[in-house]
């Protein structure tokens, strides 16, 4: 086990010989408001008076079976049993397994995924849409990925229009998403994104210098200027429903807060950080020390966001806001994401895989758009990756918030970021308490009104 990081208000670890060094079911934590308990089952948060906190602690020491203890102290209402495999909700189309940039950390090997450059034909794109419409519930989402999807813009436009028609005919509601480097953006693309319900993710790593160092064009020139041009195109010809910035964080990214502030100032609706865990070039991958620094930097961003939200201002730090929402709802899920569940990804030939990072990986093959999704493969995948079966997840208090980690990353590098994830989630739990208490104080809402939080986040 890697070492624990000194976090504020850290409670002393249980005495040696105790059943877990980590809390796996009941985790006490402190904030400026007092003592709190995170009950892993159900992701429930309680405020405790000092005596109750002590009692819980001593109970944990004396009772070996913490799961039983948790169930006894905090019983859950019986839930309806799950209905089986959930319906398909989203397919991402890898319309162009090729790219016009050469970012060093790219998992897609400049878009090629280790193969030769391929583009998806309009036929396959339409078939993917048909498959999605056939198997989805009342709502569906069509994603465009790559490489750089705009290298195959004809198919992007065609598939969008086709999907809008098909969904309308089927009486379903369709939305779209696209992840792009924005260097090839044209007016007609902007107009497409504005006239359909699109969520656009622009890959950008920071202000000009940092971005251009990490995200060069094929010829080595910088990409920042092109992104600036793209943003002004959005201003002129219409913003999409949601315009987000996706920042890839490497050990070389330096302090994150200036990057965050910079991108917020550019007017993005959301700015999210994604640390690189798997990369062909070793200098971009995180080592243990790097995770420590990363956590400190992320916390700095989180504290900034917390301050802004408490002051009643918006601050679209995606990682933080998403965490607040998930914690507020008490998200409790045994998988890290929807890959293989509601979400699948199609390669250029129309073969379906669990997600866009697992394209062409045979163990994650899940059917094809032509013949249909492979239910057995999906169910088997979900069964075998349940977090309670994973090591060391099954003993970790954060398992239902984390879900076990990205399948792609775990497969390639194992679970190396657990301390960082726990550190970040611990910070988020504390921030959640500070945020809701602070909002309650500031807005005179009583404790019965957590809606203050809802209105402030998105």
């Amino acid at each position: 086990m890697s070492r624990r990081l000194p976090l504020y208000g850290e409670r002393a670890p249980a005495a040696a010989g105790a059943p877990d060094a980590y809390d796996s079911e009941l985790r006490l934590f402190d904030t400026s408001r007092g003592a709190h308990l995170f009950v892993v089952e159900g992701s429930r948060i309680f405020d405790l008076d000092p005596e109750s906190a002590q009692q819980v602690e001593s109970l944990k020491r004396t009772q070996g079976d913490h799961a039983a203890l948790s169930a006894a102290l905090f019983p859950r209402r019986p839930e309806a049993p799950a209905a089986g495999l959930m319906p398909l909700y989203s397919i991402s189309l890898n319309v162009a397994q090729a790219c016009n940039m050469s970012c060093g950390y790219c998992y897609a090997d400049e878009g090629k995924f280790g193969g030769s450059p391929r583009v998806m034909s309009a036929e396959v794109a339409r078939a993917s849409v048909d498959r999605l419409v056939a198997e989805s519930g009342p709502r569906l989402l069509v994603g465009f990925m790559g490489g750089e999807p705009l290298l195959n813009r004809e198919v992007v436009h065609e598939a969008t229009r086709y999907a809008a028609r098909r969904a309308a005919d089927a009486g379903k509601q369709v939305s779209f998403s696209v992840t792009t480097n924005a260097t090839l953006l044209r007016r007609e693309d902007v107009e497409l994104f504005a006239s359909h319900p699109f969520s656009v993710q622009v890959s950008i790593d920071g202000a000009r210098e940092l971005n251009d160092a990490q995200r060069p064009m094929r010829d080595g020139s910088g990409s920042y200027e092109r992104i600036e041009a793209a943003l002004s195109l959005f201003e002129r010809f219409g913003r999409p429903r949601h315009l987000a910035a996706r920042v890839t964080v490497t050990p070389r990214s330096g302090e994150l807060l200036p990057t965050l502030d910079h991108l917020v100032s550019l007017g993005f609706d959301e700015v999210g950080f994604a640390p690189v865990l798997v990369s062909p070039s070793p200098e971009y991958a995180f080592a243990a020390d790097d995770f420590d620094r990363l956590l400190v930097r992320m916390e700095a961003c989180g504290r900034k966001a917390l301050g802004e939200l408490l002051a009643g201002r918006e601050y679209p730090f995606g990682n933080f806001i998403t965490a607040m929402q998930e914690i507020h709802r008490g998200s409790h899920r045994p998988h890290p994401c929807g890959a293989g569940a509601g979400y699948l990804s199609a390669n250029a030939e129309g073969q379906l895989f669990a997600c866009h990072r697992l394209i062409d990986v045979p163990e994650f093959a899940m059917g094809s758009v032509g013949r249909g999704t492979n239910d057995e493969a999906r169910s088997a995948h979900l069964r075998r990756s349940h977090v309670d079966l994973m090591e060391p997840c099954r003993g970790c208090w954060a398992r239902y918030l984390c879900g076990g980690g990205c399948y792609h990353e775990v497969r390639s590098r194992g679970r190396v970021a657990c301390d960082y994830i726990r550190g970040w989630l611990d910070f988020c739990l504390k921030s959640y308490v500070e945020l809701t208490s602070g909002l309650a104080d500031a807005t005179l809402f009583g404790r019965d009104e957590p809606d203050a939080l809802e209105s402030l986040l998105w």
Partner: protein, 712 residues
């Protein structure tokens, strides 16, 4: 905001998990608060809803915003439950005797349905000042009356007596009352259950009466929350009123105002009873509407009966709009709405020349209306500002006149804006100078107009719209008599119409269609169309405003609400008044001159100038009221714009402003010289204000970018 850590500590109940007490310090009260949604979802809240907290509830039991506090009092006596909402008295409806009360021997057989037990007397303390308890007897008292006494009971010892029949004092021996009082007193003082809970029976075993004494129920537990042991969940909210079960005949509270508009407190005007009997129950013939009455009992007599209502008559009730019933049967046709204007089918559109010509005329009309409305405003017998405290019979009346005067002033100021907008439209059409003259005829038909101008040999191509009814009404300074008010309504209403009855402002409709369908102002069409739309809509609003004014003035006599004006040309008027009249004319002239200067400066600076110039209008207004208070109207002599225009052309904007400023200050000095102390003070203040405003205006005019006219 408190956290569980702030509460004082006290004895803890047993640990609710059933675990053995752990080693370590004895646990105090466990206070665990669920913070996020899943934590809350698993936390079952026992008892009455959180909204039924007395300290946070509005103490209101009719619709009961949070809970019905009368339901607390039902259980004022431990073990017993009373029903108070009865005409015949407060009745014991249920009981669950405490252990101590069992000795009384009270059983359910003692209160058969045919012979309920009534609350007879209440003996307890009602005020903290009471040294001794007070006795209230409920002999033939209505239940709600008894509730009032019960409600005022303080916590502490209370003794009650209850028995069959509500009229307990009229039967039995005269000494019965004395016996009862003695028993109550004895029970109140007693300590033993046998003496506290006494049932006296007849020889046959029937209950004669009972006297119980106990501590009044504690409604709240130690934490200040409704005691869950006393009140079952839902008990406090069971009698809440909801809009969809509201009885719109018999619910007597006025809370849901929308359901009873005729009962809502209004301006004292009695309304037609919308829930009246509409048919004679004997003959089946329709009944004419009864005279409106402000007397509640009479109004209730007019109501249709419950049976009629329930058996379906409510479905036939007409819809009430704007205080008028919209009839549902065929014999009375619904009022015809004004004809909608089909803009794309209107014929006889204007071309550019014709539009300019028409707008030039309409500018003069707006000008004329400003003056007419202002005159009407000053003719109303109301001061410029109402004094702070108003008492006495006349106060309501004066308030009405003042409100009406305010509305007229508002319409006049709107017309000032319209006047500016029409000139702005002329500028969009690239006219060189604004139009500030005043129409002599409102709604002049172009034929007549043509005749006049043909006499003078001028070409004036105002377009004739066939079938359009032109008002052809002369301009005049008139007090706001009823006739004049009707006239104003006629002018402004039907602004949207083009059909019969449409008046001069229906002309804007043709202009609007012209601007919408023809490229009269390429590149600025949106601006022009928006302006004209506003002109049409506001005209419509003005019509409604005058209607409201007419209703507000109601049946007041003209002598009451109008001033009796003296002739401003009268030589016998004082010098003070004469100088004030001159000042009024100077103000009037400066207003018009300002428009010329603003026009010359171009849109940006011009706009700024006009908004400052509006401040000068306040001075005109003060002058107008000063005169009106002395029953003299402003002259509103139409100024000759020639001189100002000449100065403007020859010497520029700055010089023009200086000229107007000089004239104004000169006039003010004349007033000061001739006036008494009060008016003199007003004149001096005006001079200071005027000076400051003109400095600002000259500042705007002398900015380098303001020089010269803007040319597109």
């Amino acid at each position: 905001m408190t956290s569980p850590n702030d509460k004082p500590e006290h004895e803890a109940p047993a640990d609710k998990t059933g675990h053995e007490a752990p080693a370590g310090p004895a646990p105090k009260v466990i206070k665990i608060f669920p913070r996020n949604l899943t934590a809350r979802a698993d936390y079952l809240v026992p008892g009455n809803p959180v909204t039924s907290r007395p300290e946070s509830g509005v103490d209101n039991c009719f619709p009961g915003l949070e809970y019905d506090q009368r339901n607390l009092d039902q259980r004022f006596f431990p073990g017993l439950s009373f029903e108070f909402q009865r005409e015949d008295g407060a009745v014991l409806v249920d009981f669950k005797l405490t252990d101590a009360q069992q000795v009384s021997g009270l059983t359910r057989d003692d209160m058969p349905a045919a012979r309920p037990l009534f609350l007879w007397a209440l003996y307890g303390k009602f005020s903290t000042a009471d040294a001794e308890p007070t006795l209230f007897a409920f002999h033939q008292t209505r239940g709600p009356e008894a509730l009032r006494r019960v409600h005022d009971l303080l916590p502490g010892r209370v003794a009650i007596a209850f028995g069959p029949r509500p009229d307990f004092l009229s039967s039995g021996s005269p000494l019965f009352a004395a016996e009862l009082i003695e028993k109550l007193h004895a029970a109140y003082e007693a300590e033993q259950p046998l003496d506290k809970f006494v049932v006296v029976r007849e020889r046959a075993g029937l209950l004669k009466y009972a006297v119980f004494s106990d501590e009044r129920t504690k409604y709240l537990d130690d934490d200040g929350v409704i005691d869950v042991d006393t009140f079952a969940p839902g008990e406090l909210t069971k009698t809440l009123c909801a809009p969809w079960v509201y009885d719109f005949r018999d619910c007597v509270c006025f809370y849901w105002a929308a359901n009873k508009p005729d009962m809502a407190e209004g301006d004292g005007r009695p309304n037609v009873n919308f829930l009246r009997e509409r048919f004679d129950l004997g003959t089946g013939e329709a009944k004419p509407p009864p005279a409106p009455t402000p007397i509640y009992l009479e109004w209730r007599e007019q109501l249709m009966k419950h049976g009629t209502m329930i058996s379906g008559a409510w479905r036939d009730l007409p819809v009430v709009l704007d205080d008028r019933e919209v009839p549902t049967d065929a014999s009375e046709p619904p009022p015809t709405p004004p004809a909608a204007v089909a803009f794309d089918r209107l014929e006889h559109l204007f071309n550019r020349e014709e539009a300019i010509s028409e707008l030039k005329y309409l500018a003069t009309v707006e000008h004329a209306l400003i003056v007419e409305y202002l005159y009407a405003h000053y003719s109303l017998n109301a001061p410029r500002e109402l004094p702070a405290s108003q008492k006495g019979k006349g106060a309501a009346r004066q308030h009405k006149i003042f409100t009406a005067a305010g509305e007229v002033l508002r319409v006049a100021t709107d017309e000032m804006r319209h006047f500016l907008w029409v000139n702005r439209l002329l500028r969009l059409l690239e006219c060189d100078s604004p139009v500030t003259s005043r129409a002599k005829v409102v709604g002049l038909s172009p034929d007549r107009d043509k005749e006049k101008y043909e006499e003078k040999g001028e070409e004036r191509p105002r377009k004739v719209i066939p079938d359009f009814k032109y008002l052809n009404r002369d301009f005049g300074l008139r007090r706001l008599t009823r006739e004049v008010l009707q006239d104003f309504i006629r002018i402004e209403a039907n602004s949207r119409n083009t059909g019969p009855g449409g008046v001069s402002f229906g002309m804007y409709v043709h202009l609007l269609a012209s601007f919408m369908r023809r490229p009269l102002v390429p590149g600025r069409q949106d601006e022009a169309v928006d302006l004209i739309k506003l002109l049409v809509d506001e005209g419509d609003e003005h019509g409604k405003t005058f209607l409201r004014i007419s209703e507000a003035l109601g049946d007041m006599k003209e002598a009451e609400y109008l001033r009796q004006f003296r002739d401003p040309a009268d030589r016998e008027l004082t010098q003070e008044i004469k100088t004030l009249l001159d000042l009024g004319d100077v103000h009037y002239q400066s207003f018009l001159s300002m428009i010329h200067v603003s026009y010359a400066l171009g849109p940006r600076a011009g706009g700024e100038l006009i908004s400052k110039a509006v401040l000068l209008m306040q001075e005109l207004h003060k002058t107008g009221h000063e005169l009106a208070a002395q029953n003299v109207p402003l002259r509103f002599t139409e100024p000759d714009q020639g001189a100002i225009r000449a100065t403007l052309e020859a010497e520029g904007e700055l010089a023009a402003l200086e000229e107007i400023q000089r004239k104004t200050l000169e006039s003010l000095r004349a007033v000061e010289g001739a006036a008494g102390p009060k008016v003199g003070r007003m004149a001096r203040q005006q001079a200071v204000v005027t000076q400051a405003i003109y400095e600002d205006l000259k500042g705007i005019a002398s900015r380098p970018e303001s020089k010269g006219r803007e040319r597109r």
